[in-house]
């Protein structure tokens, strides 16, 4: 493995009904549920992707952040790996599914809900949207793990597994959410290391 410098090309944070892109606020709403905030953001950025409305909240959150980071990437067949992480896996949707089968007399297990009972489905949604047939992995950690993430990203880039990596944290549980996604590349941007991504995450 040839070690080479890696850079953060762009980053996006979503929390508290507010979206920041590269440190600048690009969208916010007043107090509302995430589902309404997500719908407002979808309309604001004119995303035009009706499948968005079928997604669970974790997927909507990851999708929105990815959309803002990738929407200007017009080339096709980009080899962008996905490396995401969170704390609560898909538990928010798992519980909704469990509630739908909880009553022995009155139950309705919906395949449309069931398909979202895995955290990596949100990476699938991003892959489908942006036609990414690249490496992808989802890790579960107690908290954002910049050391692990930066190391894993550098291995992907320095062993030519991908040209760029879309990485970060996408956490959703019971209406508390946080997305922090960023693209790492070998060409230009903010020098990429664990300290920097932790600092950007904390903003």
């Amino acid at each position: 493995m040839i070690k080479q410098a890696t850079y953060i090309k762009a980053y996006c944070s979503i929390q508290n009904n507010k979206i920041d892109l590269n440190g600048t606020s690009v969208f916010k709403t007043g107090e509302c549920l995430f589902v309404d905030f997500a719908k407002a953001a979808y309309r604001n950025f004119e995303l035009n992707y009706p499948k968005f409305f079928k997604m669970d909240n974790l997927s909507k959150l990851a999708f929105l952040a990815a959309e803002l980071l990738l929407k200007n990437e017009l080339e096709t067949d980009r080899d962008i790996a996905l490396l995401l992480s969170n704390k609560s896996s898909s538990l928010d949707t798992d519980i909704k599914f469990q509630e739908s089968i909880n009553n022995q007399e009155n139950y309705f297990p919906s395949p449309a809900v069931f398909v979202y009972t895995l955290p990596n489905i949100c990476m699938g949604e991003i892959s489908i949207r942006h036609n990414l047939k690249s490496e992808n992995t989802f890790f579960i950690f107690e908290e954002f793990n910049p050391g692990f993430m930066s190391n894993y990203t550098n291995v992907l880039l320095c062993t030519n597994r991908a040209e760029e990596v879309l990485c970060g944290w996408v956490e959703y549980y019971k209406d508390t959410y946080r997305a922090f996604l960023y693209i790492v590349t070998t060409t230009f941007g903010i020098p990429h290391d664990a300290t920097t991504i932790q600092t950007l995450f904390n903003k």
């Binding site: 022995q104 398909v115 699938g124 892959s127 489908i128 990414l132 047939k133």
Partner: protein, 399 residues
């Protein structure tokens, strides 16, 4: 070409046989195992056909000499039986003598037991023991414990490509010299969870499955377990091991199309086959037989067929799906088909794609419908899973 990683042992239990030899006899004699279901009480009993191992859980408990109060799932018991066979076949007596690991795959895990008590857990403490054997990782750990393995234990669950990814990961662990030998494969027992899930997706056939046939109606679920033993070249030389075949190529790709369905043009399948041939250093013309995924769902066979045409053009090698014999055994499918691919290499045979009558209207691909004898050097085996997780393995003759 690249020689790949040596396979020194294999074990299998499926609906068509409890050993490698029994499976071969069934494959050679068109002995299929699609039947009505006996071991699970389900309201779909009369409307579906499955490939079931006709042993009760109690018989499996007795075979493994487990204490009566065990919490083993059927998935773990089938896995333990097949993994023990593979160990014995490889002549391994002291499993911890070298750096040894297990990469085991499953999709259903311990669900065959936990689903029975779903509404009981808060009322009856005695069934709580099954909670700890529920997850996929517990299945791999149980098998490792049965083998007495103290080394690396890990689990792969990528739906129907699981065992292919387990074999691929194991081969990479050997190549990277992380392990000296590794037991790789998968296990899945029939469960209401999978029966009802696939029923909801409306891809279960009420008749015997008919892969690559224009009138195919869907799949029959099956249950099975199979494991291979992979060993490093150094260990093979040192211990003068008999090599059954080599894992020469592998590839995994993302179809990026839909949560469950495969893309129309089989992009993921195409990429997986392409990657596997690159790893093996083989040209398409060198593949003698394709053991297809061939689930007999309208979607899979069309997508896989198109991908084969894209790779092989006008010269698609002999291909067949063995799922009319075994049903679709989900996370175990790629492992049992790895055993069948090795048997094809050893015996120079193409297994028949049973139940085929009418070619598909979309293309003129015709599977090998009867048993065929011919020299076979390289077998390509496909396994594609929900989530667009497509994997291909290539097995090559040991010479």
């Amino acid at each position: 070409m690249n020689k790949g990683v040596a396979i020194t042992g294999m074990g299998i239990i499926s609906a068509i046989g409890n050993t490698v030899e029994e499976n071969l006899i069934s494959l050679l004699n068109n002995k299929v195992a699609i039947s009505t279901i006996d071991n699970i009480s389900t309201i779909h009993k009369d409307s579906i056909k499955v490939a079931e191992i006709k042993k009760t859980n109690q018989e499996l408990v007795n075979e493994l000499q487990l204490p009566e109060e065990n919490n083993y799932s059927r998935t773990a018991m089938l896995g333990a039986i097949a993994a023990k066979q593979a160990m014995a076949d490889a002549g391994i007596t002291d499993i911890n003598e070298y750096r040894t690991g297990i990469v085991s795959s499953t999709s259903v895990g311990g669900m065959d037991m936990t689903e029975r008590y779903y509404y009981e857990y808060f009322k009856d403490e005695s069934c709580l023991k099954y909670v700890s054997s529920h997850d996929g990782g517990a299945t791999a750990q149980t098998i490792a414990d049965e083998l007495g393995l103290k080394g690396m234990v890990t689990t792969i669950s990528t739906a129907c490509s699981s065992a292919a990814n387990a074999i691929m990961f194991g081969a990479r662990l050997i190549k990277a010299k992380k392990l000296d030998r590794v037991i790789v494969g998968g296990t899945d027992a029939l469960a209401k969870f999978t029966i009802n899930g696939f029923k909801t997706l409306m891809i279960l056939s009420d008749t015997d499955n008919t892969p690559f046939d224009n009138d195919r109606k869907g799949l029959n679920l099956g249950e099975a377990a199979a494991y291979l033993v992979l060993e490093s070249d150094e260990l093979v030389q040192k211990e003068h091991k008999r090599v059954l075949a080599y894992v020469s190529g592998y590839g995994n790709a993302n179809d990026a199309f839909h949560q469950t369905a495969s893309s129309e043009n089989g992009e993921g399948a195409f990429l997986a086959m392409q990657k596997a041939m690159k790893v093996a250093g083989l040209e398409p013309a060198q593949i003698d037989y394709i053991n297809a995924h061939g689930t007999a769902t309208p979607n899979n066979d069309l997508s896989e067929g198109r991908a084969m045409l894209r790779i092989f053009g006008k010269h698609v090698p002999d291909f067949s799906s063995t799922k009319p014999f075994t049903g679709h055994t989900l996370a175990a499918a790629a492992a049992i088909e790895a055993v069948y691919s090795i048997l094809a290499l050893q015996n120079n045979i193409v297994f028949p794609n049973l139940n085929f009558k009418t070619p598909m209207s979309e293309f003129d691909l015709v599977p090998q419908a009867v048993l065929k004898h011919k020299p076979i050097q390289h077998v390509l085996s496909n396994s594609f899973g929900f989530g667009g997780n497509c994997s291909t393995l290539i097995f090559s003759k040991s010479e």
